[in-house]
Symmetry: C3
Amino acid sequence: MVTKVNGSTKRVGLSPTMHNGFYGRDILSVKQFAREDLDYIFGVAEEMEAIVRRVGATDLLKGSILANLFYEPSTRTSSSFAAAMQRLGGSVIPINEVRYSSVTKGESLPDTIRTLEAYADLVVLRHPEVGASQIAARYSRKPIINAGDGVGEHPTQALLDLFTIQQELGRVDGLHIAMAGDLKYGRTVHSLARLLCLYDVEMSFVSPDILRLPEEVRDEVIALGKPVRETHAIEDIIETVDVLYVTRVQKERFSDLTQYESVRNLYEVTTDLMSRAKPKMILMHPLPRVGEIHYDVDADPRAAYFRQMENGMYVRMALLAAVLGKA
Amino acid sequence: MVTKVNGSTKRVGLSPTMHNGFYGRDILSVKQFAREDLDYIFGVAEEMEAIVRRVGATDLLKGSILANLFYEPSTRTSSSFAAAMQRLGGSVIPINEVRYSSVTKGESLPDTIRTLEAYADLVVLRHPEVGASQIAARYSRKPIINAGDGVGEHPTQALLDLFTIQQELGRVDGLHIAMAGDLKYGRTVHSLARLLCLYDVEMSFVSPDILRLPEEVRDEVIALGKPVRETHAIEDIIETVDVLYVTRVQKERFSDLTQYESVRNLYEVTTDLMSRAKPKMILMHPLPRVGEIHYDVDADPRAAYFRQMENGMYVRMALLAAVLGKA
Amino acid sequence: MVTKVNGSTKRVGLSPTMHNGFYGRDILSVKQFAREDLDYIFGVAEEMEAIVRRVGATDLLKGSILANLFYEPSTRTSSSFAAAMQRLGGSVIPINEVRYSSVTKGESLPDTIRTLEAYADLVVLRHPEVGASQIAARYSRKPIINAGDGVGEHPTQALLDLFTIQQELGRVDGLHIAMAGDLKYGRTVHSLARLLCLYDVEMSFVSPDILRLPEEVRDEVIALGKPVRETHAIEDIIETVDVLYVTRVQKERFSDLTQYESVRNLYEVTTDLMSRAKPKMILMHPLPRVGEIHYDVDADPRAAYFRQMENGMYVRMALLAAVLGKA
């Protein structure tokens, strides 16, 4: 099925993989990507980083407009997309005030999307409900980029996480990667785990019982032949990991606050803990953090989370350029 | 009376017509326009559409700044103006947070306007009170564009509505145009009805008694020699209309909610209703809709409301360029 | 101590003066500036004014991004910085929704700053707490501009105030400058008084007892050898002042509202009062006003407050260009 994008085509629906055919496509799920897609995007992201470091910006997307539609607040993600678009010479329409928009007058998501596609060349969508970006994509002739849909997916976060691992350690294959914290509600972890199945890696999952990786994700990983180790203690894996990926326990996902209090401070990365880790490993976090990583760890060269955040801009620049056919 | 705009002139006050003299003028009311003005703006809007379809954007307003001042929320209108300015190469200062601005510190509208004219080249104003844009224009040396003032006017909406009729049906003269729904509070309808008096058209007004067209507007239309037909049922006119313009019953205009409930679902356009309409008519709606037009009508080629919305961007591009002397 | 800014250097900490070395520096306090610094910035600001009047904008900062981070609302200051950046060809990421951002997820100011410096080339910060911009600067590799920190400083306001005096009266030395209103909480007045100590001026301070200039500021001024006159009545100084700088009594600074009511209308500048002032003096106000200056005074050519506001854009253009090394 093919629909029109400004006289050219948008390919609708998720193919199992998209290889280098990003032009006119939606970015909805990490399940869209084959390794070739990742190699392509990461290659472009490296070029984007070089451009930004050398001259700050390009005119590649001059005259293009991004609608940045956030039904949920996220300064970090919305600023990252805005900066990515602006460093490519494009413009941004920020729509953060959704409680205040047509939506409060009773408008449906499809109508809002069809409004914005009349004005913009693509739409970045953050929405509290799983599947919202799929609905948006179904109705839009212009590309939709999923910037997080509830506890569902956040594919650009997973891409920047993986890009960071490759940039920091030179490869992904052969690594031992541990994810710790809230593995139940943390969509970041779900997306990254799925993406890592494309590589030859060993994964460890560290969490309390009530925040274990959902069975569905665990089964997917196992079905793809990856060894899965689950444990309660970071200490069990700290000496062997190449990547320790820590997540925030998200208060807003708990209906029972006493349960939240019982687990919120379970994992704290200290300089003491880091002293037992390999000298060449990296410590990652999608941020914001609320105590999971002590501030004095920031000075450790293995603390990669601020570089990880910067990488987000380069990966999003690559995606925007690719989707608009200018990469 | 003449005041200065950056070394050139702003002509103050409403002349009965403005012909092609848009440069430095405020856009406050449809009463400003003669047919020649509309011909001129629609000609420029067609050029804008051609530019956007061919290359996406121009540099016509490079270096110019639009202050987008919204005292009331309106994602659609503010995004449309923002996209219009950006596609002309200009920049936008969005001010949506008025409850949070100097206004909450007790500042008057004239002082806010004089602040923004110090920074921007023109101001787009949405305000809940009738006449606010007239006050703003009186104090501003820079052009003001009224983007809706309470139940008063919304002239750029009327322009894009008329432009859509002309683009879709090739002409305005000789058409039968019906407006249905909330004709009492719907400023869109008031502005469009007034504008249509410049043409040789037949107008029908479909509403329940409590939402009839205000006497003032009806008298204006009649005084201009237009035949006015009022009815309660869309069925009375569906077979003969060239344009069916449906409006949302706006909950926020009712103090008595039971009255709102009694009329909110009175008119619903279904595929069944559309099957009785002419094959070349068009169905319009200013959007957002909340049930007045069923979703399965969207597939009907006569459903023009999404094209209507896109036309809004082209008409606003034409107005911005004209007012800043670059059309 | 030197840290990296995109391959070049940011000089950290406040030197007593910075002369023309603005490149890569934070702008945190008026205490940073020597007269040479002011001469330099005002010279650039004059050039910026000439550019804006002649052609509206330049491409000097094309490709650069400003993060406009406002923890407190301020339409005026945020719009002024946004317009300044855009008229220099740069882009802006507006972050006004801080209650809605990562901050509400518990993120610290340093982490927020380190996020934004990953995307932007400099950060403008408005924060309700004294010293916030110093903290931000300590953690940021990119320049920070303090746009007001609680009752602390607002250095760019003081610069534009001083620039206005020089532009309007041709000089600062030799003038009698009076500040009236809330001298206790008005950070504008504190910053301006400190800056004026670099010049040969006479200062008068007009306020009720409960809103007197804080002892700390008064002592600083006296220590720098400036004569300080304090009085309760504008009438005492109106006939001799060259500059009358009036401030709003800020309701939000009072915990006791009856105290606020007792002083809010103490000073009102009327046409009658102005008739007793020198023919070449100027009347200034940082705006917004809530009654301190009557509207009919606006027509007086000595009323400089709207020109003062416009000067804010030129001074901020000069600072942005200087800090990014492009002045």
